[in-house]
Structure formats: C-alpha cells, structure tokens
C-alpha cells in the first residue's frame, strides 16, 4: 500500500515542479551564453560554433525599421570592419516578429543587407527564442561575448545616437579594445534609448 502512495507523491511532485512558473533567467555579466542556430540573409544557418578562430563576438539585436537601429547601422559596419580582422565579428540578429513589423521580414532583411552591403551576418530570430534568452529589450541592444561565450558587456554602442562623430564614450569600441588587451570592459553595462522589441503575442 505504501509504495503506490509514495509513487503518487513523487509523481505529484514531478508534476508540480514541471508546472511551476519559472522565469527564464536572462544573462548578466559573467554568465555563459547558449549558442544558437539562426538563418542568415544568405540562407545559411549560423552558429557561434562556426567561428572557431573568434576571440569573441559583438552580438547586436537590431532591425530594419527602428530609427535608432538605422542611425547605428553604419557604426555597426565600421565596428565589424575594425574588429572582425582582430577576431571579434559583429553578429546582427533581428528579433522582431515580421507579422507585427512587415519592414523586418526576412525578405526585407535580405534587401537591406544587400543595399547597405552588410559585411556581417544578419540573422532572423524567427522563433523569438534567442532574444528573450539574452534578455534583449530594444533595438539596438549589444551583448559582447568572449571566446568562451561569457557575457562581458551589455548595453549601448556609444553615447551619441544622432551623430557618430559627437560620441564621447564609444562603449563597444572600448569594451572590445579592452578585451583584446585581456582586460574587462569598463563600464560593462549601459542604457540607451531604443525601440522595444516586437514580440509575437
């Protein structure tokens, strides 16, 4: 008689545990990021594991439609051109649901990437599983990872959205430069105005 009761309690326990509301933890500085596999505008599936030589990654959640993302487009191209040869490629990910923002569809991403000659990959988070894991909230939103996928910087690209030349603090540039010297970025967390990520309901 005892056994089935125990088994029932155990089953109930498993049931309760599996149904307990668990907020997925988003990354903070020092966490190890999960790799992902997302489709690039050229049709290939891209993972961070595809870059065995990389010293790290400038992962940026960005998109076509957001004026802030557009303002930073050239700066992302410049960052990739500067740091990709030194082992830090830009990995751009569009997190928006195209049903909500038609301008951010995969087809539109292809057009944009071709028009602006993106030197970096431009991936679509089509299932919207990657950006919530990172804890990305807006476009653009940067996460710099080291070669072991440890998150070293979260935040803005610089402190001057409207004009690149007026930037006094180039956060991403300084962070990667510090990491290439074997140092920790300082600051490692910044805030900025941006467009809320459009999540499928």
């Amino acid at each position: 008689m005892n056994f089935p009761v125990n088994a029932l309690v155990l089953l109930a326990g498993i049931f309760l545990l599996s149904n307990a509301p668990r907020e997925p933890q988003t990354y903070v500085i020092g966490d190890k990021a999960d790799d992902f596999s997302l489709r690039n505008v050229d049709g290939r599936m891209i993972s961070l594991a595809d870059y065995p030589e990389a010293k790290g990654f400038i992962v940026v959640f960005t998109c076509n439609h957001c004026p802030y993302a557009q303002l930073y487009e050239q700066r992302l191209i410049d960052l990739h051109k500067k740091f990709n040869p030194r082992g830090f490629p830009v990995i751009a990910i569009n997190p928006n649901a195209p049903e909500i923002v038609p301008e951010d569809s995969f087809e539109e991403m292809k057009i944009r990437a071709a028009e602006k000659r993106y030197p970096f990959v431009y991936l679509l988070d089509s299932a919207q599983t990657v950006f919530p894991r990172f804890g990305a909230l807006r476009t653009p939103h940067v996460f710099i990872l080291d070669r072991n996928l440890i998150v070293r910087y979260i935040g803005a690209i610089d402190d001057s959205p409207e004009t690149a030349a007026a930037a006094q603090r180039k956060y991403v540039d300084s962070a990667v430069t510090a990491m290439l010297r074997g140092e920790r970025p300082e600051p490692d967390f910044t805030r900025a105005i941006g467009c809320m990520i459009k999540r499928r309901k």
Partner: protein, 176 residues
C-alpha cells in the same frame, strides 16, 4: 540668397511654434527631475516616454489623452516626454503636434547622456520605447512597452495608486 532662405526658414519655423501646441524643451534631465521634485505630496504624475518615430508609442497616445481628459487636474498630471531629436523639431515634431493637438503636457527631452538619466527615471528601465512611469507619494512604478488599451493603462495607474494609498481624491468613476 542663402541668408534670405535662412531668414524665411526661421520665420516659418517660428510661426509654426507660435501657432502650434505648446511644448517645452529640456536639454538636461535635471530640468525634468526638478519638476518631479517640486510636485506636492498629493500629486500623481504619469510620465509617458515616446517619440513621433515610434509606431507603438503613437498608437497608445490616445490612451494617455483619455487619461488626461478623465482625471487631469493639478493633482493628476500626464506628461508626454518625447525623445524626438531636436534637429528634427521643425520637420517632424512640430508638424506632429499641430496635427494631433494633444491635451496632455508635451516635453521634448534632448539630453543625450541617456546612460546617466535613464536609471534616474526608474532603476529597472533600460531605455526601450514606449515606457511609462507613474510617480505618486514618492514611489514609482514602471511599465516597459505599450498599453493594449485605455482600460489597461487606467487599471495600471489606479492599481498603483491603491498600493501607495493615494486612492483618496481619485475615484474610479473619474473626476467628471
């Protein structure tokens, strides 16, 4: 010729501002902070951070207009704080205000040191638009993202006011 063009442009933009809706430009966040600090203890302020270029922000503006109409007064204020660029004031911001004739107070916040001022609005805010902060009785509540409709905004505000025990003077039936 260039001077003539400049003069006519200034005249045109000046007259636009005169004919259009009143708005205030704050170049420094401290100006907004001072306004908040000067509020009396019984005053509630709902601050919506928006921009004319932000689709979901513009979509939810009517909710804040309705809130202003229903509850607005000296002890219940709604501030629409725009993050539009100052350089696009004449081309984008003023025409938008002229077209929409907003009832709530409009402020253009042009402080570029976003990393400094964003956490002063609310410790959990990282800067995505739209976002809304309600301030009452020295406490703050943050909503990141759009309100689906007026009822959602209203219950967000009233629910918060209940928790700060400021429900007196603000019945759910409204002041009208």
């Amino acid at each position: 010729m260039r001077i003539l063009y400049l003069v006519s442009f200034l005249f045109f933009s000046g007259s636009c501002a005169l004919r259009g809706q009143a708005y205030t430009v704050y170049d420094d966040f401290s100006q907004l902070e001072t306004r908040i600090q000067q509020l009396s203890a019984k005053t509630t302020v709902v601050i919506n951070f928006w921009a004319t270029w932000c689709g979901p922000c513009v979509e939810e503006l009517p909710c804040f207009e309705e809130l202003t109409q229903k509850y607005g007064g000296p002890d219940f204020q709604v501030w629409l704080v725009s993050l539009d660029f100052k350089t696009r004031l004449e081309k984008q911001f003023i025409p938008f205000l002229e077209k929409n004739k907003l009832k709530a107070e409009v402020i253009l916040l042009a402080d570029q040191n976003a990393d400094d001022w964003i956490p002063k609005v609310h410790k959990d805010w990282e800067g995505s638009l739209p976002s809304t902060v309600v301030i009452s009785g020295g406490q703050r509540k943050l909503q990141q993202g759009q309100f689906a409709n007026f009822e959602e905004l209203e219950s967000f505000v009233l629910g918060f006011l209940k928790t700060v025990q400021k429900v007196t003077g603000l019945s759910t039936e409204g002041s009208r």
